[in-house]
């Protein structure tokens, strides 16, 4: 086997941090090579160097055995290296064809027809199932990603880099992507897969280079290595995937939803006749494929979206139509789905972010004047208790923190409010195993203090790991609520597709 890409002894420093310290990556022709590491371990830096976005301080890069200097993405492209970015770079109101030929239009007169037929041929060759004439805004996220892949293929890329490709995909789309990757390898391409998701590596990768804190830990054959082993290499200590928890001791209901109907953004019912109870000392998980009304339901409970009909109450108090602040005061905590959009003010320091729900009341302010010392102390306490790490402590801007630390800060803030009910939406999305383990533990702790937790997640593993009961949602309707101990992933999977549990058992 020959190495198609070699990055030897790469070192890259940023002010105050060594992002890559003597890292060597060797990718063989025709393999899927995963790069595994926690957020901030240096995976993206390494790939940016390969793609010509950064220049390494030390080290050499060889492509097909020849030493090369890559100083821009164009150089990388000329060498047959293509990158599928995490955030797609597509023009929404252009067609697939127009997006793919953008920058490679050829002669002055656009020849859309021959481009489209070449794209169609490529799409069929690799099983991408893309219609070259549809507009980007009309196709799903999964298909948009395939357009990005097509873009690379159209430019004759031989080596494809996938940067966290599954972060935006539904479980089905992930399966399809895996199949596409296998097709690409069959056709002689090589793939570098950047990820921190172990099951994906297990599913498709041949070999895996593990990076931790800028250093290379080792290269393993995926087939002969357990997930636990890889996780331990990545985090630097053994990791438990199962959350230790005692059986629930459910008490009186905290959250009660009665026949709740909610309009979605298209002004049609996104949540239909939804009734559910979440009790003290209980975690209820809402399982469902993304886009089946979970967001609308959460927004209705938290007050971000009006309820069309039905009632929502916390501890017996009707909160259906009260303000968001009044809900917070009634005992609602909310770990939002999008931590950067909703959860934090990225341009404000951590200290301000930690009191953003409480700044207006004593002890944090009095007569409208903020008490800075107490605010800082409160923020410091949260950061200490929840192990939030940042460059300049509570003075750090929230946007400068890693994703895991941002999430820990939000979880810390919400838990510090001691809410009777906490809604956790995708609480571990995009986090590495260390942070996931930590946040899961904290949610169970919250339950064990006698509070209620409503968990919304698209990851079945997470639902099964944490929930005492599972409520399955499909097309805005509650399909069924089942005890976690009395069901399995297959049954829940069927319910997620809309099949009622009686039919499942029958």
């Amino acid at each position: 086997m020959s190495h198609v890409i070699e990055m030897l002894n790469i070192r890259k420093e940023f002010p105050g941090i060594v992002a890559n310290d003597d890292i060597t990556l060797q990718v063989e022709q025709g393999e899927i090579h995963a790069i595994l590491g926690e957020n901030g371990a240096g995976k993206s830096t390494l790939m940016s160097i390969l793609f010509g976005l950064y220049h390494a301080d030390k080290g050499i890069i060889k492509v097909r055995g020849k030493e090369v200097h890559i100083s821009s993405p164009n150089d990388a492209s000329d060498l047959g290296i293509g990158m599928v970015h995490q955030h797609f770079q597509l023009v929404q109101n252009f067609t697939v064809t127009e997006n793919i030929i953008l920058g490679r239009e050829g002669s002055f007169v656009l020849d859309r027809k021959s481009a489209a037929s070449k794209i169609k041929a490529l799409s069929e060759q690799y099983g991408l199932k893309i219609d070259p004439n549809s507009k980007i805004e009309d196709i799903t996220v999964g298909m948009q990603q395939r357009v990005e892949i097509l873009k690379m293929l159209y430019r004759d890329a031989e080596i494809l880099i996938f940067d966290e490709p599954t972060a935006v995909l539904t479980p089905q789309e992930i399966d399809e992507l895996m199949q596409i990757m296998r097709n690409l390898i069959k056709e002689g391409k090589s793939i570098i897969l950047i990820t921190h998701k172990l099951n994906e590596i297990k599913a498709v990768a041949d070999r895996c280079t593990v990076i931790r804190r800028g250093k290379m830990i080792g290269v393993v054959e995926v087939a002969g290595t357990s997930q636990a082993k890889m996780a331990a290499m990545m985090v630097g200590r053994p990791v438990s995937f199962k959350v230790d928890k005692k059986p629930a001791k459910p008490g009186k209901p905290v959250l009660e939803l009665k026949d709740v109907n909610v309009m979605n953004i298209k002004k049609v019912l996104g949540v239909k006749n939804f009734s559910l109870q979440v009790r003290e000392h209980e975690i209820v998980g809402i399982a469902g494929v993304d886009g089946n009304g979970q967001s609308e339901l959460v927004e209705a409970i938290s007050g971000l979206r009006p309820v069309a009909s039905g009632t929502i109450s916390i501890n017996g108090n009707d909160i259906t139509h009260i303000s968001i602040r009044a809900r917070n005061e009634a005992g609602l905590g909310h770990i939002p789905e999008d931590r950067q959009k909703r959860g934090l003010v990225m341009t404000a320091p951590l200290s301000a972010n930690m009191v953003i729900k409480e700044y207006y009341r004593p002890p944090f302010s009095k007569y409208g004047i903020l008490n800075e010392d107490l605010i800082n102390k409160h923020a410091q306490d949260i950061c200490d208790a929840f192990d939030v790490r940042s460059g300049e402590g509570i003075e750090s801007l929230a946007g400068k923190l890693s994703g895991g630390n941002q999430q820990k800060a939000i979880v810390g803030r919400e838990m510090a409010l001691e809410p009777d009910l906490i809604i956790a939406v995708q609480p571990t999305r995009g986090l590495d195993v260390g942070a996931i383990e930590y946040i899961h533990k904290r949610l169970v702790e919250h339950r064990d203090k006698g509070h209620a937790v409503l968990l919304v997640s698209f990851e079945l593993d997470e639902i099964f790991n944490l929930s005492d009961r599972i409520a399955v949602m499909n097309s805005g309707e509650l399909i069924d609520v089942v005890e976690t101990s009395a069901t399995d992933e297959e049954k829940v999977g069927l319910m997620m597709a809309g099949v009622k549990s009686k039919e499942v058992t029958a």
Binding site: R325, K341, A348, G368
Partner: protein
């Protein structure tokens, strides 16, 4: 939270000013004038004696208040481009008070300030309401409000405040009813200096206090930085948009008061006060911080009041001063470039230091495993 005055915002402002001046020098040289002579008279015109300094300050007063208005709206994520109209309405209300309200001086000053705040605040709150209720973009609404103010004054002044001789401006306010003050005029040997300076300084201190220390400032900044997060946290976003525009309008109204009843003593019709737009530059150069606004207004005030003298003493046209201001705005707006430049300078210094300590660091690394 406390806004820290970061050294690099200061460096960026200074870099922009220097580059603006260099661009001015190149322009002067290209039309055959001696730039050193030009700048000499430009600065001399603004600063050569107490009266000139007084006039520089008098110009800066209005710029400070307009700059503060724009900067305050910026903090809430709003672009108040309607300061000119708010100045006109605030100025008109103050002028009406000056003509018709006779009270002991301290009480009178409170009334005239309140009138200007109300007038400007009303002109600011309307776009705020439109934005909150109907999602009308504040840039569009405030520009419209500018023209409503402009034409209202065009008809109102000749009808109700007609001057004895001139058709184009209102009748003059008695000096005793203006913001001019004998003791201030005496200290500065005449000129346009007026009590507005204290209004401006008080406003700067008050706004700084509101932004840094109060729950109101906390909310306004949260809405300005991330309205989605503010909404999620329970802050009433729309209410804050309205309050912010009202306060911004009030500040611009005060600016109008200092301009029409302090700097000048009448309102011209058919003139949109250009200072309403210069305030955007003041806010930008001052990095939207109240203290920054104070200094940038003084600097622009000096350029404004010195340009006439430069024109009188040299061949350099006064438009050069405006060009310098424009260039400074341009460089401030592209401040990202300066930030990169200063960052890379900082990095180079650090790398040099690091290289020297490299061996030691490597050794330490081995020790720590």
């Amino acid at each position: 939270m406390k806004i820290k005055f970061k050294s690099n915002t200061f460096l960026i402002a200074v870099s922009a000013v220097i580059l603006g001046l260099v661009a001015g020098a190149i322009l002067m040289a290209s039309i055959g004038s001696n730039p050193f002579e030009g700048f000499y008279y430009l600065f001399r015109g603004g600063l050569m004696n107490v009266e000139r300094i007084g006039n520089t300050i008098a110009t800066a007063i209005t710029l400070m208040l307009v700059g503060l208005s724009v900067a305050f709206a910026f903090k809430t994520g709003l672009f108040n481009i309607g300061a000119a109209g708010q100045m006109l309405v605030g100025g008109l209300c103050a002028t009406l008070v000056a003509h018709y309200v006779f009270l002991p001086r301290p009480l009178y000053l409170i009334v005239i300030i309140a009138a200007a705040l109300l007038g400007g605040g009303l002109w600011g709150v309307i776009p705020g309401l439109l934005k909150a209720k109907f999602n009308v973009h504040e840039v569009v609404a405030t520009i419209m409000m500018n023209w409503i103010a402009y034409w209202s004054i065009y008809y109102f002044v000749p009808a109700y405040l007609k001057g004895p001789s001139l058709e184009t401006e209102s009748k003059s306010i008695a000096i005793s009813q203006s913001l001019r003050s004998p003791w201030l005029t005496e200290i500065f040997g005449g000129g346009y200096i007026n009590l507005g300076i204290f209004v401006a300084i008080l406003a700067i201190i008050l706004i700084k206090f509101i932004l840094d220390k109060t729950t109101l400032g906390f909310e306004l900044k949260a809405v300005g930085s991330n309205r989605f997060c503010a909404e999620y946290a329970g802050v009433k976003v729309n209410r804050n948009v309205i309050i912010s525009m009202m306060i911004a309008g009030g500040l611009a109204g005060l600016a109008g008061m200092t301009y029409y009843t302090g700097y000048s003593r009448n309102i011209q019709i058919g003139v949109m006060p250009s200072m309403g737009f210069d305030g955007i530059a003041v806010a930008l150069l001052g990095a939207s911080s109240p203290i920054g606004v104070f200094f940038s207004a003084l600097f622009f005030g000096m350029l404004q009041s010195g340009k006439g003298f430069m024109n009188a003493m040299t061949e350099v046209p006064p438009e050069i001063a405006d060009t310098i201001i424009a260039t400074i705005i341009y460089f401030t707006a592209t401040s990202v470039l300066f930030k990169k430049f200063w960052d890379s300078v900082g990095k180079r210094i650090r790398t040099k230091r690091k290289d020297r300590a490299d061996k030691a660091v490597a050794q330490e690394g081995k020790d720590n495993g």
